[in-house]
């Protein structure tokens, strides 16, 4: 019984962490372009060096 007292807050805390992460994703507009994200993961950013600086515009150029 006592172990439950530790495990439940732990489980709920982890769940809340996930929920918090979900809200954070929403706020930073990561669901704005689901098609593009599927392809972006395949891009080799490092292979092209600094030409990919456009990526840094992510937070700002997305709709706020």
């Amino acid at each position: 019984m006592n172990i439950i007292m530790i495990l439940f807050p732990l489980a709920l805390g982890l769940g809340l962490l996930g929920l918090g992460a979900f809200f954070w994703c929403m706020r930073s507009a990561q669901y704005a372009d689901l098609d593009g994200a599927a392809w972006r993961v395949l891009q080799d950013d490092d292979a092209q060096g600094e030409t990919q600086t456009g990526e840094t515009g992510r937070g700002r150029s997305s709709p706020q």
């Binding site: 019984m1 929403m26 593009g36 456009g54």
Partner: protein, 729 residues
């Protein structure tokens, strides 16, 4: 060429950084995305570019002092992409806010249902074993702790909608949902208080979770259609040449032109505004507006409409606010009338909800009364009635239609067909008669070369260059059909005859048949293409005669045949003269045609067909089609259509081909079939589950399995709508 001015589209920030949203034509894959982002990033003044692949948009940020917005568009053009700026809609927009709050509620409900399920599984397995009642109570209280705030937060969309409906004296699907949720929570708390074995916290939260998925999909669908409609407007990229008081000209997007401005319309240009001619005299091709292909003369003080083509002379036009013209007034009035007819349609989901609410209420109430009469105490009877409410779960019902709509809409989008109304799919599937406009719909909006075999490939460039040098409307049309090459230099034009370049044997001539001495060829071509305009070309001994006229859209014949095969009756309703419509109809094998119709006549004919029991699919593009498009059971228009027509249409298709019409019908029919299957499944599920619940045999475990099982089946079935998009047309 006058300077472009795109400054209306630019958003400024305090730190000297400007940003702009552009709709980009031709983004198809990850490669395009990378090319655009990488290419723009190479420009030092550009701080960031981000492609949205789903929406085919790019947002660009740059240092304002270093770059003009036009340079961004040019930069994209250099990369091989045509970009059209547009005004980004305000984020405070009601629909966007609602979507975000729905998604947030969905997240909360998902979190809560998972955690409560964790507790519930323990209770269920304990109930069949030997769980300590204290532990069970503890678990139930924990569940209540999660479920009550969740229901209060995530249930709001349903509670609010139910309240709104009740206030208006109506009952919608949210009323039984609200009653079920509130009663189930109250009974579960009471049960926990009394150390009972069963609590429905998990069922309630899961119900909310599934229902929110359906709601969110519905909302997503609406936002998507709205965003795409925004792209469409931008893709048309209409510009006007504004004449300043000092006589200088600026090319501006239509959005930046206001009433009272003076606009210059050169010969060969399309008039982009409604207004009154201030100076100049010309002939207008009004085919896009009225369907009439014969040119009409226009002079000072007369009214011109957006969409007409200026043929002969330059005009200056004083812009008027839309909706003041006599033709527009008439069309506005007809539109109001037509929209009234349309609103009679009831969505499939609403029809289901109308049946659902009273049936569920009656069932639950009679279960309660029945068990009371049978001798059960009222809390027990109420508990069983609540199980009935929960288990008749409209989850499957709530998901059945939005899920199919979203999947079918993306299948359509892949084929460049854009839905503007969510229920257009249902209406399109019901259509049993297709009515086409002729000019611009069955035919291409711009004149085309009807006998390309008379034009050797190696001569295309020289003829095009010669044609581009002339201001004559026919030559202009020919130049456009040949890809608008740069005009040739040193061209001599003889008014009323044609153009010539060079001297002696090497002389090239383009013009009337007599000017080029090509009477023999002309007679042959004229016999093959009656009604077409002829233009002749001579270079040395080489002579050819080109027929220019309205060509059918690609795949028009196949599309008509496919529609017939699907069981639709096909008719043509045109504003053009009978002689112009008849050859087109004959070529397509359409026998039912009405020519010379005014906008009101078209609407009246549609009403007549509707009265005859037909569900009419209208395809049209002109201003004169707008009332008919609004009044038809369902309507499509090509992207080249006039603003008003496009606004009135339910579905807009891109590209020159007419094939999307048949494709849209196929997908819509499949989608409707899937929707009906889903609804049927929801009914079947209830037919099995409800008797169990009424008998009082349903435990929370049964409710949870039934609910998630039925929702899964419905969702998987909806995914089959995607398969309709796999087959290439």
């Amino acid at each position: 060429m006058a300077a472009q001015d795109l400054s209306v589209f630019v958003r400024h920030r305090d730190d000297g950084i400007a940003s702009m949203e552009l709709a980009v034509d031709g983004i198809r894959c990850a490669g395009c995305m990378q090319a655009i982002e990488g290419g723009l990033a190479r420009e030092p003044a550009i701080l960031g570019a981000r492609v949205n692949l789903a929406l085919k948009r790019v947002s660009v940020e740059w240092r304002e002092a270093l770059l003009r917005p036009e340079a961004v568009v040019e930069k994209l053009a250099a990369l091989g992409f045509k970009a059209y700026p547009f005004v980004a809609e305000r984020q405070a927009d009601g629909a966007a806010v609602e979507e975000r709050s729905l998604l947030r509620a969905l997240g909360v409900a998902g979190f809560a249902s998972m955690n409560i399920m964790l507790l519930s599984v323990a209770v269920w397995s304990g109930n069949s074993g030997d769980i300590d009642p204290t532990t069970r109570d503890f678990f139930h209280w924990l569940s209540a702790l999660i479920a009550l705030p969740t229901a209060a937060y995530a249930g709001r969309p349903f509670f609010e909608s139910a309240l709104r409906a009740l206030k208006a004296g109506a009952v919608n699907m949210d009323v039984p949902i609200t009653i079920g949720v509130v009663l189930a929570l109250a009974m579960s708390v009471a049960e926990t208080w009394n150390h009972g074995r069963h609590a429905y916290f998990d069922g309630v939260v899961m119900l909310l979770f599934f229902l929110l998925i359906g709601r969110y999909l519905d909302q997503l669908m609406r936002r998507r259609t709205r965003d795409l409609a925004g792209n469409l407007a931008a893709l048309k990229a209409e510009t006007a040449t504004r004449l300043a008081t000092d006589g200088s000209t600026t090319v501006m997007p239509i959005a930046a032109i206001g009433p009272g401005d003076l606009v210059l319309v050169r010969p060969g240009e399309r008039v982009c505004v409604d207004g009154i001619v201030e100076t100049g005299r010309s002939e207008l091709d009004q085919s896009l507006v009225t369907g009439e292909t014969a040119p009409a003369a226009i002079g000072q003080g007369e009214r011109v409409h957006a969409g007409t083509l200026n043929l002969a002379g330059a005009l200056t036009v004083r812009v008027e606010a839309a909706g003041q013209g006599t033709l527009l007034d008439e069309i506005d009035r007809l539109m109001d009338q037509a929209v009234g007819n349309r609103s009679r349609y009831v969505r499939l989901s609403d029809r289901a909800a109308r049946l659902y609410a009273p049936v569920v209420h009656t069932l639950a109430a009679s279960t309660f009364l029945g068990w009371l009469a049978f001798g059960l105490s009222w809390p027990e009877a109420l508990m069983i009635a609540v199980t009935v409410l929960i288990i008749t779960c409209p989850c499957a019902l709530g998901l059945a239609i939005p899920a199919v709509q979203v999947v079918a809409a993306s299948a359509l989008f892949k084929r460049k067909i854009m839905l503007k109304e969510g229920d257009a799919l249902e209406r399109l599937a019901e259509a049993d008669m297709a009515v086409f406009d002729k000019t611009g719909t069955l035919t291409l909006p711009e004149p085309e070369i009807l006998n390309p075999e008379a034009l050797p490939v190696e001569r295309r460039a020289e003829i095009g260059a010669l044609a581009a040098a002339s201001g004559h409307p026919l030559a202009q049309a020919l130049a456009r059909a040949l890809g608008a090459p740069p005009p040739a230099g040193d061209v001599h034009e003889e008014k009323g005859l044609g153009l010539s370049e060079g001297q002696g044997y090497g002389e090239r001539r383009l013009g009337s048949v007599a000017f080029c001495g090509a009477q023999a060829e002309a007679a042959m071509v004229a016999a093959l293409h009656p009604g077409a305009s002829l233009i002749a070309y001579r270079h040395g001994a080489f002579r050819t005669v080109l027929a220019l006229g309205q060509a059918l859209r690609p795949q028009a014949r196949e599309t008509i045949a496919a529609l017939r095969k699907s069981g639709l009756r096909v008719a043509i309703l045109s504003g053009d003269r009978f002689e112009a419509v008849a050859p087109i109809a004959a070529e397509l094998g359409v026998t039912e045609l009405h020519a010379g119709l005014m906008p009101g006549d078209k609407l009246a004919l549609l009403d007549q067909m509707a009265a005859g029991g037909h569900k009419v699919l209208m395809v049209g593009d002109g201003l004169n089609d707008a009332p008919a498009l609004a009044g038809a059971h369902v309507s499509l228009s090509p992207v080249s259509a006039t603003h008003l027509a496009q606004a009135a249409a339910d579905i807009v298709f891109l590209g020159e081909s007419l094939a999307p019409v048949a494709a849209a019908l196929t997908i819509a029919r499949k989608a409707r079939r899937l929707m009906l299957q889903n609804l049927f499944f929801a009914v079947l599920y209830n037919a099995v589950a409800v008797p169990i619940a009424i008998a009082g045999l349903a435990t929370p475990l049964v409710a949870a399995v039934a609910m998630s099982g039925s929702s899964l089946v419905v969702t998987l079935n909806a995914l089959r709508a995607r398969a309709a998009g796999e087959v290439r047309p």
